[in-house]
């Protein structure tokens, strides 16, 4: 994913700065809304043309809808094609209740919100519970919903009388001015609220959770993020905003029939505007809307006639190609040149009255600014040196006596290296931590695990080994709650975890890493680890979590890279990040799934040292590894799996010289 820049990041925010930043935003926001409101309230005094107000009203409608879409789909990555459902429900509710039955208009806004919330709850409760739900499936589900609602309106023509409903102008305070003023102000209110909610959500815990879900949902789940709850929250919020926006839309079009609201324009353009603007940020949709609505308006007014849509298609296609991450990201990268260009070009055309219509000047300014924003000169970033590298060098020196890794596992199996340091457990094996009884897991016809019974005690460092396909990763998945056992039960720290969702298992005290590291790409290294603290067993607020993260980064040696984004890390560093993140959940049990895959010898030694440190701090570790040298160095106990069953279990030396084990690995050739 993602085009995050790798240049040295802006300030690492301290908590005070965070608060100040938040306050600044809030003030700016209120000022912006107030300024926009004066355009209408003091319109006549200022001589502000009515039409601009109308155009802004259209923009505000789209801001509401695009923000609504973004809250779910941009933030969480679950794309929805069903925006028309909310607009439709909202518009119809207002049209029918107010237009047909003369119920108070403002009350209908509340009813719309409620109906949309119910709709979202129903869809979410069904869709998000499914473990097999891929993002595409959800998108298609949302595509179907508006069709169902439209068909419902057709089947029951009593709802709208069969021919559509005229929506009269509701009573509003005369001081506000004319109807267009009222419409503008109410749209401003709704859009402002929408953006405020989006902003608030992004900064909040929910925002972080959604970002994590977007980047790597099951990893987030494993860290303790209650993904179902946050997704549902986003869905319902999105629905309520969309619905209220739809109610106000009914006022704008004045006549509501099925085709007015259940069409393809709304869902498609909402996506266009959000994505072009930048969909992971609350401000993205605003930019996207401003650009697209103005562009469409100017094209329509341009007299290009038939060619206006062709121009639109070209621009859309062009923008998608050039700025796939959206304009906002580019704007943020270099705000000064972009804004300056906009101001200059607009002024250059406006002041001498060059185009008859100032809006043309503004559009030209926007286009020029876009071009500047998209210009990306070639640049190579240096891959930062890491303290980890230094550490691994130090470790290698210290281990000078260690023989070089031999390619053959066999020799390691038969003759554990003399100089290898056997692991010294921090404490003697203590209470029973993990208890598996009769655990089996089938995938269709494949029996990945069959009747596995084992016990792991606190303080152990268990090496889980076995040939490929023996079920190691499956067992890890079962212990972390990612998989449910087909049979049998698993208890961790006295809790029965069979059937618990992964985030609850995480709260019981289990953490796992992945063989292929899966960091949250949109967050810095520090924030990746902070996530674990924010959502772990003892949750903390962001600022404190970041401080705690720093400590964990020190343990693994990544503290110098704390502000870097994961895309800039090499494999080893990413694996260390995985470990740090897992560690940060304050686990009782740490499951490492081939955490050392793909590393060179120096890196391996470094990693081993890190693991020792972790173990010494009191964490029970289960490590799945192919590298028997490593397992020998670390493990207090080895469990060998073969084709889903437990082949051997016990002291490393004994297990490794067990002929059955050797046979499982090497076939009948025995080694002395």
């Amino acid at each position: 994913m993602t085009g995050r820049s790798t240049e040295s990041p802006r300030a690492m925010r301290t908590s005070a700065r965070d608060r100040a930043g938040g306050l600044r935003y809030a003030v700016a926001f209120v000022l912006a809304i107030a300024a926009l409101a004066t355009l209408s309230l003091y319109r006549e005094t200022m001589g502000f043309p009515m039409f601009y107000l109308v155009l802004l009203t259209t923009m505000l409608f789209w801001v509401t809808q695009a923000t609504s879409w973004n809250i779910l789909s941009g933030y969480s990555g679950y794309f929805s094609f069903g925006q028309a459902a909310y607009v439709g429900v909202g518009a119809y509710t207002t049209a029918v209740l107010y237009g047909r039955h003369q119920i108070n208009f403002y009350l209908t806004l509340v009813v719309s919100a409620a109906l949309c919330a119910v709709l979202a709850l129903a869809v979410g409760a069904l869709a998000f519970r499914l473990r097999s739900l891929r993002g595409e499936i959800f998108a298609l589900l949302t595509l179907a919903v508006p069709f169902i609602l439209a068909a419902l309106a057709r089947i029951r023509p009593e709802i709208d009388g069969g021919q559509g409903v005229v929506v009269p102008i509701p009573p509003f305070p005369a001081e506000l001015g004319r109807f267009q003023d009222f419409l503008y102000l109410i749209n401003l209110l709704v859009a402002g609220a929408a953006v405020a909610v989006a902003f608030g959500m992004q900064q909040s815990r929910a925002g972080w959770a959604l970002a994590a879900i977007r980047d790597a949902e099951d990893v987030a789940e494993g860290l303790g993020v209650a993904t179902f709850r946050y997704k549902l929250q986003a869905l319902v919020t999105s629905a309520v905003i969309g619905g209220v926006g739809g109610s106000v839309f009914a006022l704008q079009i004045g006549f509501v029939a099925v085709e007015s609201v259940f069409n393809l324009t709304i869902p498609l353009f909402v996506i266009v505007m959000s994505v072009l603007g930048g969909r992971t940020h609350w401000f993205g949709p605003v930019i996207g809307v401003a650009f697209i609505v103005l562009l469409q308006d100017r094209l329509t007014a341009s007299g290009l006639g038939d060619w206006q849509l062709i121009a639109l298609g070209v621009v859309l296609a062009g923008l998608v190609i050039i700025a796939p991450d959206g304009l906002y990201a580019r704007l943020r990268a270099r705000p000064v040149p972009v804004l300056a260009t906009f101001a200059l070009v607009t002024a250059a055309l406006w002041i001498p009255d060059l185009p008859a219509e100032p809006l043309d000047a503004i559009l030209a300014g926007m286009l020029a600014a876009t071009a500047v924003a998209l210009w990306r000169p070639r640049r190579r970033g240096a891959v930062p040196q890491t303290r980890a590298a230094e550490t691994s060098a130090a470790v290698t020196d210290a281990d000078a006596g260690t023989p070089a890794v031999t390619a053959a596992d066999a020799s390691a199996v038969a003759r554990p290296s003399d100089a290898a340091k056997p692991a010294t457990p921090a404490t003697e094996p203590g209470e029973v931590l993990v208890e598996c009884r009769g655990v089996a897991r089938y995938f269709g016809g494949v029996r990945a695990l069959e009747d596995v019974t084992l016990t792991i005690r606190e303080g152990e460092l268990v090496g889980l080994v076995g040939p490929n396909g023996s079920g190691k990763t499956t067992l890890v998945g079962l212990l972390s709650g990612n998989l449910r056992p087909t049979r049998g039960s698993i208890r961790v720290a006295g809790h029965e975890i069979t059937g618990l969702p992964p985030h609850r298992v995480a709260h019981v005290g289990v953490a796992r890493t992945y063989q292929i590291p899966r960091p949250f790409a949109s967050m810095t290294v520090r924030d990746n680890v902070a996530m674990a603290i924010m959502f772990g067993r003892s949750p903390e607020p962001l600022a404190a979590a970041r401080r705690g993260a720093q400590r964990h980064l020190e343990v693994v040696g990544l503290d110098a890279l704390a502000d870097v984004y994961p895309s800039a890390l090499n494999l080893h560093q990413r694996q260390l990040l995985e470990m740090a993140r897992a560690l940060a959940t304050d686990p009782k049990l740490l499951l490492l799934d081939e955490a050392l895959a793909g590393l060179n010898p120096a890196e391996i030694d470094n990693a081993v040292e890190v693991l020792r440190r972790i173990h010494r701090s009191g964490v029970t570790i289960v490590i799945v590894e192919h590298l028997l040298r490593v397992v020998n160095q670390l493990a207090t106990r080895i469990i060998v799996l073969d084709r889903g069953t437990c082949l051997a279990d016990g002291d490393p030396r004994a297990v490794m010289s067990d002929p059955a084990v050797i046979q499982a690995y090497l076939g009948k050739r025995a080694h002395a």
Partner: protein
């Protein structure tokens, strides 16, 4: 009896839906591209069919000789462009949407927005039918079904038996590994896009046989086509065919038994259920394409 007739006609016309959907489904499943421009290609072929028949008096089915190669090239070119640009799944939706707007507008400029329909004298297939027992098989639907079955069956066999087919499936499963085995992702993708274009040409011709054309038609197909794609399982050809038939049948039967307005309601509700219960598609078997 009337229900049976409706079911039958619906099942046959489902072939057209399946043919329209096949191109979208396969490029989505294999190449991870949601290609809305496919609808533009169907529209363009339909209009080309109309024009060739009206200006040169060609038999409508024979126009395939021109439209299939044409759309083959266009489809391949579009896919090559997507690949070259390295576009992501969501962005492919947006890019193809832009392309679709372009194509629809181009059609509107050339042929005007008014309804165009092949004259009855030029199009002998429109009103013909074959009657067996009490049941009527309209020629246009028979053609649609016939083309759909043969094309999809043929494609399915090609995917299963030929090297090319296996290469495609490998690409779908794991492009990186496939590349390691020497399978050129771009060439395969272009070929697939071209094949999808060819199916679009046939679908367009079949649509023009039985309908009046207007540029806005392209957008009217979205609902049905995506319904078929969902039910059939993204990327599964045979599933798409079965789903098309099912969609046609359900629509037809519900139209008669309940009301025509109820048909989309039942259909899309069924889709929601199907997605929740069997997200991989009603007819998908593991790993088949």
């Amino acid at each position: 009896m009337i229900t049976l007739q409706a079911a039958l006609a619906g099942a046959l016309i489902g072939g057209l839906y399946a043919l329209m959907a096949a191109g979208v489904s396969v490029t989505w499943g294999v190449l991870r591209i949601i290609n809305l421009a496919h609808f533009g290609m169907i529209l363009l072929s339909a209009y080309l069919t109309f024009q060739l028949v009206t200006s040169w008096g060609m038999d409508p089915i024979l126009t395939l000789v021109v439209t299939v190669p044409g759309m083959f090239v266009l489809g391949g070119a579009i896919q090559w462009a997507y690949d070259r640009l390295g576009i992501s799944e969501l962005n492919s939706l947006l890019l193809s949407f832009g392309l679709l707007i372009l194509m629809v507008q181009a059609v509107s400029i050339v042929w005007s927005a008014d309804f165009q329909r092949m004259h009855e004298s030029a199009n002998p297939y429109a009103t013909g039918s074959v009657t067996v027992g009490g049941l009527v098989f309209p020629i246009t639907t028979l053609l649609a079904f016939g083309f759909a079955v043969s094309l999809i069956a043929g494609a399915h066999v090609a995917l299963q038996r030929t090297f090319l087919g296996r290469a495609l499936r490998a690409c779908a499963e794991d492009p990186a590994v496939a590349a390691a085995f020497g399978i050129d992702h771009r060439r395969i993708g272009t070929l697939l896009g071209a094949a999808a274009g060819a199916t679009a040409a046939v679908a367009g011709m079949l649509f023009a046989l039985a309908n009046a054309l207007t540029p806005a038609s392209a957008f009217e197909w979205f609902g049905t086509v995506f319904a078929v794609v969902i039910l059939g399982g993204i990327g599964h050809l045979v599933g798409t065919l079965a789903a098309g038939v099912l969609v046609g049948m359900v629509s037809g039967v519900v139209s008669v038994v309940l009301s025509p307005a109820a048909a989309p309601f039942v259909l899309f509700s069924a889709i929601v259920l199907a997605l929740l219960l069997r997200p991989q598609g009603l007819f998908a078997t593991r790993g088949a394409a």
